[in-house]
C-alpha cells in the first residue's frame, strides 16, 4: 500500500504539466458540436500534437509505435489532461483505444504497418461496428452476415451506437461468418473502409437530443479478406484482447470531472441558498465520499493491472473493473440527480450544462453491459455463484 507516486512518475507528471501549459493556449477554438468535419479536424490536430510531443499511443506497446507507458503513467496522463481542460481523445477514441490495440496484438505485420501509424499521427479515424439493434447484451443474436466470395466478404446487416461514423475512414466490424455456431463463436473481425459502396450512415438521435451516435447500414458491402484480423470465426477472441488495453484507466477523466462538478455544485448550492437545506448538503457530502472511493478504486485497479503486466499477464482488470463499473454508473446518476436538486427549476433548462448531462447519465446503467448483466457477471465470475438461468 503505497499511494505516493514514484519519483519517475512525478517527473512524468511534471513534464506533462509543463507541456500542457505550453500547448493548450495555442489550440484553435473548440468546434461546433454539430459540425462533424470540424470536430474531426480539431481532434486529429490534437492527436498530431500529442504525437509530436511523444504522447501518442502512450499505453501502446513500443513495437506498435506506442510509448509503452505503465498503467500508472497512463492514469497520470488522463488525470492531468482532464484537470488541465485539454481536449478529449474524441474522434480518435476507437482507433487509439479499441481498433488500434486489437490490430497491434492480433494483426499481421502488414496490417500493423498499414493501420497503426495513421492512428497515432492523427490521420485516420476509426469507428466501431459491434452493437446491433437486436443484439444488445446477447452476442448470439449478432446478425450482420458476411459471406465469402473469393477474396472478399460480402457483408449485409446493420450496426447501431456507432460514434463518429460520419467522419470515420475505417470501421472495426464484427460479422457473423458461421450462422450455425453457438453464441460468440462464428464471429469474424473485419476492417471496413467507410467509403465502400453499400455503406449508409444515418445519425441516431439520443434522448438527450444529440447525434453522438449513428446507425450504419451495410448492403452487400464487399470487404477484402486481407482486411480480416485474426482467423475466420475467431473474431470474438480477437475483440476481447482489446479490453486489456484500458488497464483500469477507462474512466479516469470522467471521475476527475465528476469530482470537479461536485465542488461546483456545492458552490452553486451555497449561492442559491439550497446549501442551507441539510438534506441537500449531506447528499453532496455522501457523493464526495462516493467519488473519493471511486478514485481510490481506480488507483487500485490500475495497480493490479500494472502488477499483472509486470507478471507477464494481460493487465485486464478483473473483479475491480465490474465493481467499479456498477458503482460508478450508479454514482454518476446520483450526482446529476443531486445537481437537479441543487438547481431546482433551473434543472428544467437545457441551457444548464448539468441538465443536459443528467440526461446523458441515464445511459450509464445501460451502455457497455447493463447493470443487470454486470451484476450477473460479478455473481457468477467473481463470487462463483451457480450459473443463473
Amino acid at each position: 500500500m503505497r499511494l505516493a507516486y514514484t519519483e519517475e512518475e512525478e517527473e512524468f507528471r511534471a513534464r506533462l504539466r509543463t507541456w500542457l501549459a505550453d500547448v493548450l493556449p495555442t489550440l484553435p477554438p473548440r468546434p461546433d458540436p454539430l459540425d462533424w468535419q470540424a470536430r474531426r479536424t480539431y481532434d486529429m490536430d490534437w492527436q498530431r500534437r500529442l504525437y509530436d510531443a511523444g504522447y501518442a499511443g502512450l499505453h501502446w506497446p513500443k513495437d506498435a509505435g506506442g510509448q509503452g507507458a505503465t498503467p500508472t503513467q497512463h492514469l497520470i496522463f488522463l488525470e492531468e489532461t482532464e484537470a488541465a481542460g485539454a481536449p478529449y481523445v474524441g474522434a480518435g477514441f476507437v482507433g487509439l483505444l479499441h481498433a488500434g490495440p486489437t490490430i497491434a496484438a492480433e494483426g499481421s505485420p502488414r496490417q500493423r504497418a498499414r493501420w497503426l501509424p495513421p492512428i497515432l499521427r492523427g490521420e485516420e479515424v476509426w469507428c466501431q461496428g459491434f452493437s446491433e439493434p437486436d443484439a444488445g447484451s446477447d452476442l448470439a443474436r449478432l446478425r450482420t452476415r458476411a459471406v465469402r466470395d473469393g477474396d472478399t466478404y460480402v457483408v449485409t446487416g446493420s450496426k447501431i451506437w456507432t460514434s463518429h461514423a460520419e467522419v470515420a475512414d475505417w470501421c472495426e466490424l464484427l460479422v457473423r461468418t458461421d450462422p450455425e455456431a453457438p453464441r460468440h463463436h462464428g464471429i469474424t473481425w473485419l476492417a471496413l473502409p467507410m467509403d465502400t459502396p453499400g455503406v449508409t450512415v444515418r445519425p441516431l438521435r439520443t434522448l438527450a437530443g444529440s447525434h453522438e451516435f449513428a446507425e450504419v447500414f451495410l448492403d452487400e458491402v464487399r470487404v477484402p479478406v486481407d482486411n480480416r484480423v485474426g482467423a475466420e470465426n475467431d473474431g470474438w477472441r480477437v475483440t476481447m484482447v482489446t479490453l486489456s488495453f484500458e488497464r483500469g484507466t477507462a474512466f479516469v477523466g470522467e471521475v476527475v470531472a465528476c469530482r470537479r462538478t461536485l465542488r461546483l455544485l456545492a458552490r452553486r448550492a451555497r449561492h442559491n441558498g439550497r446549501w442551507d437545506d441539510a438534506a441537500v448538503r449531506r447528499r453532496l457530502g455522501r457523493l464526495n465520499a462516493e467519488f473519493s472511493a471511486l478514485w481510490r478504486l481506480i488507483q487500485w485497479n490500475v495497480s493490479e493491472a500494472a502488477h499483472g503486466l509486470r507478471q507477464g499477464g494481460t493487465g485486464v482488470p478483473g473483479a475491480g473493473g465490474s465493481v467499479f463499473k456498477l458503482r460508478y454508473s450508479q454514482a454518476r446518476q446520483e450526482l446529476y440527480d443531486a445537481a437537479a436538486a441543487v438547481l431546482g427549476p433551473a434543472a428544467l433548462d437545457l441551457a444548464e450544462e448539468w441538465a443536459l448531462e443528467r440526461l446523458s447519465s441515464l445511459s450509464y446503467t445501460i451502455a457497455a453491459g447493463t447493470s443487470q448483466i454486470q451484476h450477473n457477471i460479478v455473481a457468477e465470475r467473481i463470487l462463483g455463484l451457480p450459473k443463473g438461468r
Binding site: 447484451s137 437530443g209 437545457l350
Partner: protein, 354 residues
C-alpha cells in the same frame, strides 16, 4: 365505504381514453414531438436560446377545442353555468388518462379556469389558460410557466391571496430551452410595467366572484398528481410490453428475474400512488393531497427510469417514448408542490393533535 369506481366513473374514464386514442394516438404524439423538436433539438446543442414556442407552438387548437367540447375543462363547473357538474374524483380520472397519453398543454390551469369560470372561453377550449405559481420551496424562484406563448390568459396562484388573471403580455418572461420537448417553458421575472393594463381581478369574463388561490392550488397539486399517475401506469405498460417481446439469450427478457422485479416494483409504485391520489380526490384533504403528489411524483419518475432500464439501448433513443414520459415527470415534479414542500407539510401534520 366502497373504494371502487362507479360505473359512471368507469364510463367517463373509458370515454376519455377512446377520445385520446382517436385524436392523440402515438402517431400524433410523435408528430407533435417532431414539430416541436425542430427548434429545441438545435437549441439543445448550439448556443441560441430558442424555446419550443419559437419553433411553433406544440398546442393543437383543434384538439384543445375538442377536449373542451368533451367537457375536460368545464367538468366541475355547475350545470347551471353550462358545466358538466362533476367533481374532483372524475377530474382525476380524466387527468390520469391525459397523463397516460402524454397530452401536451396547460391542462391543469385551463381546467381550473374553465371549472371556476375565471376566464371566458376556457370552459369550451376556445381559450388556453396557463398559470404562475407562488414562490418555490425555498422561497426561491417560481417554477417556470408552461405554454406561455400559446396562452390567452395566465392565472396567478399565490397561497393566501385571491386568484389574479393576467394577459400573457403582462408577464416579464424569458423563454427557456425546455427539458420537455412538448412543453415550452418561460422563466418569469415579474410584471411588465410599461404596457401593463393592470391585473384583472379574479372572475374576469364579467363575473365578479373572488376566489381564494388556496383552493385552486390544492386542486392543481392533485390534478398534477393524477397526470403523474397516468404516466407511471403507461411506462409500466410499456416496460411489460417490451419485456414480453424483446428476446435475449434465447428467451423474452421478461423471463429474467431482474427484469421481472423491476416491473413488479413499478406496479407497486403506481398502485400505491393510485390509492392515495384517488382518496385525496374524495377527501380534498390538504395532507392527503401532499401525500398524493409526493407518491405520484415518485411513481412517475421511478417508473419512467425503470422503463428506460428495461428497454436498454432502445430506451435511450429519441424515437422511443420513454424519455418523453421521464422529462414530463421531472417537469411535473418541479411544478405545483415539490417533494421538499410536500414532505415538510406531511412532517408538520404529524405534530398536529388528531
Amino acid at each position: 365505504m366502497d373504494f371502487r369506481l362507479t360505473e359512471d366513473q368507469r364510463a367517463l374514464r373509458d370515454g376519455m381514453r377512446q377520445l385520446l386514442r382517436a385524436r392523440f394516438d402515438r402517431e400524433a404524439l410523435r408528430d407533435t414531438v417532431d414539430g416541436a423538436a425542430v427548434g429545441s433539438g438545435a437549441a439543445a446543442v448550439d448556443g441560441a436560446a430558442v424555446g419550443g414556442d419559437a419553433a411553433g407552438t406544440a398546442l393543437d387548437s383543434g384538439l384543445w377545442r375538442e377536449l373542451g367540447q368533451a367537457g375536460l375543462f368545464a367538468l366541475r363547473a355547475p350545470q347551471s353555468a353550462g358545466g358538466v357538474g362533476l367533481g374532483l374524483p372524475e377530474a382525476v380520472l380524466l387527468f390520469e388518462e391525459a397523463g397516460r397519453a402524454l397530452l401536451p398543454g396547460p391542462l391543469v390551469a385551463s381546467h381550473l379556469a374553465g371549472s371556476a369560470g375565471l376566464v371566458a372561453g376556457a370552459e369550451d377550449g376556445t381559450a388556453v389558460v396557463t398559470a404562475v405559481e407562488g414562490t418555490g420551496p425555498y422561497g426561491g424562484p417560481t417554477p417556470p410557466v408552461e405554454h406561455l406563448a400559446a396562452a390567452d390568459a395566465v392565472l396567478v396562484l399565490d397561497e393566501g391571496h385571491t386568484v389574479r388573471v393576467l394577459s400573457p403580455g403582462e408577464l416579464a418572461a424569458r423563454p427557456m430551452r425546455s427539458l420537455d420537448p412538448l412543453t415550452p417553458l418561460h422563466r418569469v421575472h415579474g410584471r411588465r410595467e410599461s404596457d401593463s393594463p393592470g391585473a384583472r381581478a379574479a372572475g374576469g369574463s364579467g363575473r365578479e366572484q373572488a376566489v381564494g388561490a388556496g383552493v385552486l392550488l390544492r386542486e392543481a397539486v392533485l390534478l398534477t398528481a393524477a397526470l403523474q399517475l397516468g404516466s407511471a401506469c403507461r411506462t409500466l405498460e410499456m416496460a411489460v410490453g417490451y419485456a414480453r417481446q424483446r428476446e435475449q439469450f434465447g428467451r423474452p427478457v421478461g423471463a429474467f428475474q431482474a427484469v421481472q422485479h423491476l416491473c413488479a416494483g413499478m406496479l407497486v409504485r403506481s398502485e400505491t400512488a393510485r390509492s392515495v391520489v384517488y382518496a385525496a380526490a374524495v377527501t380534498v384533504d390538504e395532507e392527503e393531497i401532499s401525500a398524493a403528489k409526493l407518491l405520484a411524483d415518485t411513481a412517475a419518475v421511478g417508473n419512467a427510469r425503470d422503463c428506460l432500464q428495461v428497454h436498454g439501448g432502445v430506451g435511450f433513443t429519441w424515437e422511443a417514448d420513454v424519455h418523453l414520459h421521464l422529462k414530463r415527470a421531472w417537469l411535473r415534479a418541479e411544478q405545483w408542490r415539490t417533494a421538499v414542500t410536500s414532505e415538510e407539510r406531511l412532517a408538520s401534520a404529524l405534530l398536529c393533535p388528531i
